[in-house]
Structure formats: structure tokens, C-alpha cells
Symmetry: C2
Subunit: 361 residues, 2 copies
């Protein structure tokens, strides 16, 4: 794997901003409210968060990262850090991505470059990702909001798309439009058109560029975050705590809706980097290495004629015999069995458990 | 349910002899070497042994039972007894059913009637069973070895069969032959013929009748058991312990092979009594009450569109979504997922675990 080094002859730093506030339960029973996807080791021995941090470590020329995490996960996040150079910004409550990114932007120098990314995606081809960041950097330094577009590999209806416009530089395009999750026919059109990329929620911009765009297009969010961060200074140490009362008043909104869909100078860098958001057990099966029968297994598992299955145990011995196309996942207190093609129905499960007052969510 | 009372105007007692030495693992992961099927609650809140004892309790006119159990299960058996009138005979080692029954026969009066039965079968229609015992009794008192034939409900290849001969009394026939587990075509023939019953391993005979037949047809077993029981007297209390060295020398053999196939005066009483040996997860699914989708569930289970499944938990929450025709069984340390039609493959599982040195068998 080629090492790509970004910062050698440059003045401005790129600070990775890792958004760690997700609380999804799409990988139930493994993911729980208190143990979301980013804190789990799904594709190997290290957690999604740890692999995300590794990708943007100082070996590749990045400044120490900022992690934005929810208050109830802050300790768990800190326990996974393998270096003490990271700064943690603790969100007193969940307010979606625009406010989270604004907290980070308010904590750095105006001309710092922020590489914003989710903490719970996998990128198989890290050099391709770093090359895309290198391609994006000059425009970001000039005041563009740059997003990275994942080259689609299927007509996926679960993601938003970005339409590519005019070329701005080698590998960089104006972003013509951010479009919502399409229906199947529209997704097929996007795929065959070739001019659309998945919106993976990864961005590069100067802190001041972002804050100015936020002030222009979502001024209330900008103002509320300013208030929440008014008393916070870098001298507070590695853990920054915005004011809880002020942050509670922030209007929750995604960065796409608050800024990207409205700002003028938005660019997209398409990149093929073996990316997945591991958004379902099906997606994890797609991503993982499989045996000759198409089955991916992890943990204390015994397979006898199990074909095209995902079988995982974080607790008991799991034995699968003569089954096909199933997801079987066991933890110490819960077991899920569902056909792979129906793995999104985990959401129904979590809803039903919530209704019943079951604490195992 | 009609109460059938057997002993009202009779001198001789019927002593139930419950054979509790089985150590099957066909219901793995629930059944284990140290926790065989008879000690499990499979069809309701009480264990197979408890239900067996209940069926032949003193309310129905039976004398206190004798339970023949292996040494390593004796404590577990005793802990399940709901009355202190039972006598336990502890087998120092497993020697199959002929020696086990001989131990019981040697511990009672010669003219006592023994109703011998496995501890791990279910009988849905207890009055039908008791009526069959009442029908068998006069012949047993006259020195017949009476067996109870389960009326076949399918062309089962997993059981031995008994061919009915001439009528001996109302509902009682001479047993013309004991036949081994048939192939599928032969089983179909037995079923359509109508003159064959399943051999369920339930017998009624006088103790002296049995011991004489054993001496005649398996004299070495009779002699070895005599030696093992030489020093045992009823004064030993509720737990009788045959001599371990002597019993170890007994030749293991089933009562069918040792006695029934050879003796002259063998009768069969056919009985329809909603019987099952619960010999597999499939058999348990057949037996249990099911929901509208054909699924039988037990324990902490959440079902969403689970059709024709058996889902059981003795430990974690088990969630089954969108699955069909599966057996899903979880204990605290193991989970099994197998299609119902392949549930006999549990034997492969246990063999593989044994090979691997896994202790969860």
C-alpha cells in the first residue's frame, strides 16, 4: 500500500474531525444505544472508530484529530483512543451534523482545514482516499466546501447522491446538486448516467469557510453554537465541553440541508475507495471475506453446510447447519436470526423491543 | 380427563419402574451428557421425568415407583422428585435396558407387577395409557410379558415394530415378532398392513416372570445382576447401590434382544395415546402447540413473520424475523440454527464438537 503524505510542504494543517455521535441500532443485537456501530470491531480486530483514526493518523501528515462524541459515549470513545493527542468535543445532546461540525470549527484556527468524516464507515483503499484529499486541498484552501463522492457500484436507494457539474481541477468538479435518497428507478438512472456519486458525508473545508456558510444559510445554528462555545478555550485540555443549556437550544439539522445544498462554492471529488457504511448485516456480509460457501463467520462459530450466511458470535457457541442466506448474530444476551435479504428488518425488531420496554436495545 | 384407578380390588401391586439412564444428545444444545432429555422441561413447565412420574402416581392406584438412574445423574434425578416415596436404584455404569430392569426386578417381591417405561417419552392421553395397563394386567398376572404397542401414525423408520398375532383377550394380542427399525418401503408396508405397532419400550410383567425369562434367554446377565444385587436389601433405604465391580461385568443388552424376541408368552396391547419419544427437534415441533403461523415458541423469544419454526430459549432473548421451517434453540452457552427437516443432523454437531474437544456437549 503506497503511503500518501499530504502536508509536507504546506503551511495549513488538515485536522481530521471524526463525527462519533451516531447511535444506530441497524446492527442489533451487536449495536446498542450505548454501544453504537463505531465502537464495534466489525471487519477485523479493531473498531470502526479506531480504523477511522488510523486512516488519518500523523503518519499520513494529518494534525491530531478532533472527535465529536455524545456525552454518554465520551468515556467509551476515550477508552478506544490509541494516542493521547486527540481532542474530544463532548456534545451535551444530539443535534445532527451541522452543529457537530460547527463545534469543531469553532475550536480551531480560522484557516485550519477540517477533514470531516463519519466514524463508522470503512474504506478499503486508503491511498485512494488520501489521493482524493490531496486533490481537494487546493480548492479547500481557496474557500471551497469540498465533498467526496463515492463512485456508485449499484443502484442503491439508501444513500443521497451528488450530481457532478463542471470540472474545476484534475479530479475535482463543481457539485451541481445534492439529491435525496432516490427510488429504485431513479437510482438506476443515476447509476447508468454516470454523473452521480454517493454522498458519503466526508468533507474538506477551511473552518472559516464553513462557519461563514453556516452563518449565511443557517444563521440560528451558527449563533447558538457560538453561544455554546463562548466559554470554551483550547486551554480546557483534551476534552472540551460546550455549554449544555445553550447547545440544547441548537436546532438539529444535517450539514447537507443546513449548508451544502445552499452554498455557492461546493465541489465534489469522486473517489473509488472500496467504501462501505456497513449500514446493515447484509452490507457487512458484502464487505467481509467469505469462505468457499459464501459464508462469513466471526467468533465461536461452527458451520456445517452453511451457505451464503453471515454468522457471528460475541458470546455463545453458534452452530449453523444446512442453512442458507441467513444472518445469525449472537451476543451474550440476545440472538438474531433473519434472512440476509431482510436484514434491514432489524429496525422492526428494535421498535418492537422498545414498545415492550425491553432494555436490550 | 377421566381418572382411571387400577388397583382397587386387587392384591398384587403395580410398581412403576422408570428407566432414567438415557444420555442422548439429540436435543443439543439443550440436552447435554450431564442434562439428558428426561431431566428437561420440553413440552411444559415440568420435566419429562416429572411428567412420567405424575402419570403413574398413587392417585391412579400405583405403588411408589422405582427409578433406575446412572450414578452421575442420581443427584439431579433426586432433585426432581416431588414425593419422597420413590426408590432410586443407582446404576454404577450404563449396561442398557435388560440389566437395568433386572436390577429393579431383583429389588421387589417375586409377584409384584412391574410397569417398565422410559423416563423421556410423552403421552398426551394418559387415560388411554392407563386403560391399556388395566387390559394388560390379567395376562401379566398369569405370567405373560406384556408390551404396549404404539399405534403408528406415519411410516416411521426410526422405531422398532411389533407384529400383532392372535387375540388373547379384549385389546390384547400375542406378539408375533419384534422387528428392527425398517427401511422406508418396509415402514410403508407396516403402516398400510395395520398389524404392526411401534415398540415404545413400555412393559408390564411380574418380577419373577421377567427374571425367569432373563435366566432362560440371557443367563449370564441374570447371573451377573444377581451378584451385583447380592448385598442389596430394601433396608438400605431409598437409594439402592448395586455393587459397582460386579455390575461393570454385566453384558450390556436391550430388553428386546435379551428377552422379548425370545420368550414364549409375549403379548402386545396396542394403544393410541398421543405418544412421542421427542427424539428430535422436529419431533418436539410436531408435538407442541403452535401459533397461527405454525411456530412453536418457548422462553424469551420475539417472532416477526416466523413460519413453521421451533424457537426456544433457555437463556438469551432470541429474535427470529422472516424465517421459515427452522429450529432455533439457544441456551446460555450455545445456539443452534438448523432447518426442521435436518434436525437429526444435531448428531453431526455433537460429533464435531467432541472431535474439537468442546466441553459444551
Amino acid at each position: 500500500m503506497t503511503e500518501v503524505v499530504l502536508n509536507e510542504a504546506s503551511d495549513s494543517r488538515i485536522i481530521p474531525v471524526i463525527l462519533c455521535g451516531g447511535s444506530g441500532t441497524r446492527l442489533w443485537p451487536l449495536s446498542r444505544k450505548a454501544r453504537p456501530k463505531q465502537l464495534l470491531a466489525l471487519t477485523g480486530p479493531r473498531t470502526m472508530l479506531q480504523m477511522t483514526l488510523e486512516r488519518v493518523g500523523d503518519h499520513a501528515g494529518f494534525a491530531p484529530p478532533i472527535i465529536v462524541a455524545s456525552a454518554d459515549q465520551a468515556d467509551a470513545v476515550e477508552s478506544q483512543l490509541e494516542s493521547d493527542s486527540a481532542r474530544l468535543i463532548v456534545e451535551p445532546c444530539a443535534r445532527n451534523t451541522a452543529p457537530a461540525i460547527a463545534l469543531a470549527a469553532r475550536s480551531v484556527e480560522p484557516d485550519d482545514l477540517l477533514l470531516v468524516m463519519p466514524s463508522d464507515h470503512v474504506i478499503g483503499n486508503a491511498p485512494a482516499f488520501l489521493n482524493a484529499v490531496a486533490a481537494a486541498r487546493p480548492l479547500a484552501e481557496e474557500g471551497w466546501l469540498v465533498t467526496f463522492g463515492i463512485t456508485p457500484t449499484r443502484a442503491e436507494t439508501g444513500y443521497g447522491y451528488i450530481r457532478r457539474g463542471a470540472s474545476l481541477a484534475a479530479g475535482v468538479f463543481r457539485a451541481d446538486a445534492f439529491v435525496e435518497k432516490p427510488d429504485a428507478a431513479t437510482a438506476e438512472h443515476y447509476l447508468s448516467d454516470g454523473g452521480y456519486d454517493w454522498n458519503g458525508g466526508i468533507f474538506l473545508f477551511r473552518a472559516d469557510t464553513f462557519l461563514a456558510a453556516l452563518a449565511a444559510h443557517a444563521s440560528d445554528i451558527a449563533a447558538s453554537v457560538d453561544t455554546a462555545m463562548a466559554a470554551v478555550t483550547p486551554a480546557d485540555g483534551p476534552r472540551l465541553s460546550p455549554d449544555a443549556d445553550a447547545f440544547a437550544k441548537v436546532r438539529p439539522q444535517s450539514v447537507d440541508h443546513a449548508v451544502m445544498e445552499h452554498a455557492d462554492k461546493v465541489a465534489v471529488v469522486p473517489v473509488e475507495m472500496d467504501w462501505s457504511d456497513i449500514g446493515s448485516w447484509q452490507a457487512l456480509h458484502d464487505y467481509k471475506a467469505k469462505d468457499g460457501a459464501g459464508t462469513a463467520a466471526e467468533g465461536d462459530v461452527l458451520l456445517i453446510d452453511a451457505r451464503n450466511c453471515l454468522v457471528r458470535s460475541d458470546g455463545p457457541l453458534v452452530v449453523a447447519v444446512g442453512v442458507e442466506d441467513l444472518v445469525i448474530v449472537a451476543t451474550g444476551d440476545a440472538v438474531l436470526v433473519v434472512p440476509r435479504a431482510q436484514s434491514q428488518r432489524v429496525q422492526e425488531v428494535v421498535a418492537r423491543l422498545k414498545e415492550k420496554g425491553d432494555t436490550k436495545i
